[in-house]
Symmetry: C2
Subunit: 457 residues, 2 copies
């Protein structure tokens, strides 16, 4: 097809970023500080270090360093699966008959099947550096648990994963991938923690929730002699590590002599989207270039489009710090959706602040239209996308069709965060016409927002 | 680590091979001709065209063209997932403490999860070129069926896959991947063919076999108005298409200024191994360079190491042409193994002939030692390998340990043909210590070889 732009652009290993980009350094108005759940006062380094690794906390609180060096051992690990390709979606463009140029940054070429590995290996490294022996975490869909198991195996850490019980039972293969990498995987709620025992007593037969699994993992981290809790999204440190996606994308576009017009990503906790757009947002914040940014969320869990910008708890167990963010309320239960990675009631504090400043657009899309886009993408571009990533595909296709209608040849880039190999139940239901859409009513939304904590700073 | 050789070497898209390499052109003694199962006489182009696509038959019979051009449309499709990386296994070398240099050519970065796509897209293209509307095939483990579903979706062909019933029931996710790409997937034996009906009547409740699924797929191809049957291994045409693996490997090594000493691949039907080694074998046959080649097979299905070089049927239904090959007999039932892709009683005719000439070594390895190598590889190099590919990993590690014992720094390269994401039942059993080894007795082998057809040419 087009001979000038290759299908896939790979940077060389020498061009792999040597530092992560911290977008907060370029924001005039910073995200609001995290609050301690016991005092509702801003968290100190010390407060946070009880739960998280020291260096991760330092990065979490760092609002001024524009770049933070990537440690050599992390960069070496990155070389096993990075730089990831920036792909020109020639076949999708042809299928749509659009004059738009569509690119995607593909993060699925690793065994975790997603971008999660970018932060998992960094956090595992800092845990090892601190002299820890154990790390704990929770996993719902399983991608973060897999990524952290891989990172822990690499650095010789023992990894304890609390996996939401229904997911543990429905996705035994995800569980076995983690076990292959040496992790202990416990269905949550379990009898290994106080909070797990209490929930099992109060709700016999419960199949668990992410909120409960987080609380169990945090409790486990605090009670083990030499352990910390690691989290896979939402936090500033995670957005920071994910900036490697955007830095590579920026470098690849410069190499190609191409300037994108629209950048699109799915948003659950917000870290992959922030990772993709951060360096471009930096250009925009510094007045060097202008871009459109679109965050895509599921209509079943619309924190940006229908939530409220307020302080809220990050977990249902209320053991983690509070953040000011777009939230549906920590009690909000999203209607069933096959994009498990996007079923979070809140959103990254940084992304929330940028959205609040009008620098990012948001769009909510329905599940069936997402799977329609996923299948079209799979059949034309080859790769079977994760349901989460397919939210971005849906809007990228919509934007390309808008370009077609308007006769514009804009350059669109979206984040293809992962593959759908472990999501075949969802694909099967879609193929069989058994998938529906469930969108919360205004009453559902109001109920979720009714109990936000009262915070006075 | 070593700054001179990168972790991953990618060719540019411009360096993607423009022609497949046909090793038979460089063989002085050619593989024996295929025989028609009805007459036991050498097959003509016409005989084979009843079942296979015209151009595929031409390639099957072509013993003289050294190179056969890759059609533009196939080359464009290749660009979606090729050139594949040649990876330096620095982390595995470090874990083994070996002076050997270990490389692997990784074919798993595509949704079929394996090298199978290299031939599937070529065969689908030739089917489309011939004006066909439908293609049929069988699948056991599911990788070939997935690859052909993807190729068929791309060229707008209807793909009919007969999936061995026990596999259909145990691997519903593989089935749903194929359906996502638009394929019809039928558990075999089915009631859609005469042979399927007969087998269902004779063996009520049977869970099927590859031999039966082949026969059903061939019958379906012959009875549909505008269809042919496509096969994913064993045949010369498939080895030809897979030569893209070896050509890229050869080009990458030349770029790096490295000459490998030992090339290793797993061998079920033999096509991935032939694909990897063919261009290097060509150098050896032409007297330009010397290499060691090692074919690795499961101890449970040891066609090269314990079989006989003789004419045999390629399928248990005896509807496909006969080949002269290393075989355990078409009635041989391998003991249970989790490397479904290596449970074939015979072997590529070309590989068999090269092995018979002493140009290739063969080694049989036991399942538990294969999974031990697989887990070590996963934890050090990140990627979770397919059980089939892990046979090659086992022997690569053994060779690297030999180098360590002998103080030699040889260069070892093996084919990492695919990923193990759909093989987690096997990994789970290994992790739980529930995996065993079953090796056929001499009596089992003798029984399989007792009924080889008598062929007089």
């Amino acid at each position: 097809m087009n001979a000038e732009i290759p299908y896939k652009t790979y940077l060389t290993e020498a061009e792999l970023p040597t530092a992560w980009y911290n977008v907060r350094a370029d924001m005039k108005k910073k995200p609001a500080p995290m609050l301690d759940p016991r005092t509702l006062k801003p968290c100190s380094q010390q407060d946070l270090e009880r739960v998280f690794c020291r260096e991760c906390v330092r990065q979490e609180l760092d609002e001024t360093s524009q770049f933070i060096p990537i440690p050599g051992a992390v960069r070496d690990f990155y070389k096993m699966y990075r730089p990831s390709p920036l792909v020109r979606a020639y076949f999708l463009e042809r299928a749509l008959g659009t004059p738009a140029k569509i690119y995607y940054k593909f993060e699925g070429n690793n065994t975790s099947g997603s971008h999660k590995l970018n932060s998992a290996i960094a956090q595992a490294y800092y845990a090892k550096e601190q002299g820890l022996t154990d790390v704990t975490t929770e996993t719902g869909a399983g991608q973060w648990g897999t990524a952290l198991s891989m990172g822990s195996a690499f650095f010789g850490l023992k990894c304890h994963v609390y996996m939401v019980k229904c997911s543990y039972e429905q996705k035994p293969f995800r569980r076995d991938v983690m076990r292959t990498y040496g992790a202990d995987v416990t269905p949550s709620p379990s009898m290994t923690t106080e909070i797990g025992k209490r929930i099992n007593e109060e709700h016999p037969g419960t199949t668990g929730s992410l909120g409960c699994a987080i609380s169990e993992a945090v409790e486990r981290a605090i009670t083990l002699p030499n352990a910390r809790y690691l989290l896979g999204s939402v936090l500033n440190q995670v957005c920071l590590h994910q900036s490697v996606i955007g830095l590579e994308t920026q470098a690849a576009f410069r190499k190609l002599g191409v300037k994108p017009d629209v950048l699109i990503g799915c948003a659950g906790g917000g870290s992959n989207l922030m990772g993709l757009i951060a360096p471009f947002m930096g250009e925009k914040l510094r007045g060097e270039n202008d871009y459109r940014f679109i965050a895509v969320e599921p209509a079943s869990c619309p924190s940006l489009t229908r939530g409220k910008y307020a302080y809220d708890f990050c977990d249902t167990g209320r053991v983690c710090p509070l953040q000011k963010m777009y939230t549906l309320g920590s009690d909000f239960i999203p209607s069933p959706s096959h994009a498990g990675g996007l079923r979070y009631h809140g959103m990254s504090a940084t992304l929330s602040e940028l959205y609040d400043q009008g620098l990012v657009e948001a769009r909510a899309v329905e599940q069936t239209s997402v799977f329609e886009a996923a299948v079209q993408f799979a059949r034309t571009e080859g790769t079977l996308p994760a349901p989460e990533s397919s939210h971005a595909i849906r809007v990228a296709i919509d934007e390309a069709l808008r370009c077609k209608a308007e006769g514009r040849s804009e350059t669109i880039v979206f984040g293809l965060t992962g593959t759908g190999y472990f999501d075949m139940v969802a694909y099967g239901r879609y193929i069989d016409g058994e998938m529906g859409d469930t969108i919360p009513t205004d009453e559902d939304i109001a109920a979720g927002l009714a109990h936000l904590p009262e915070v006075k700073l």
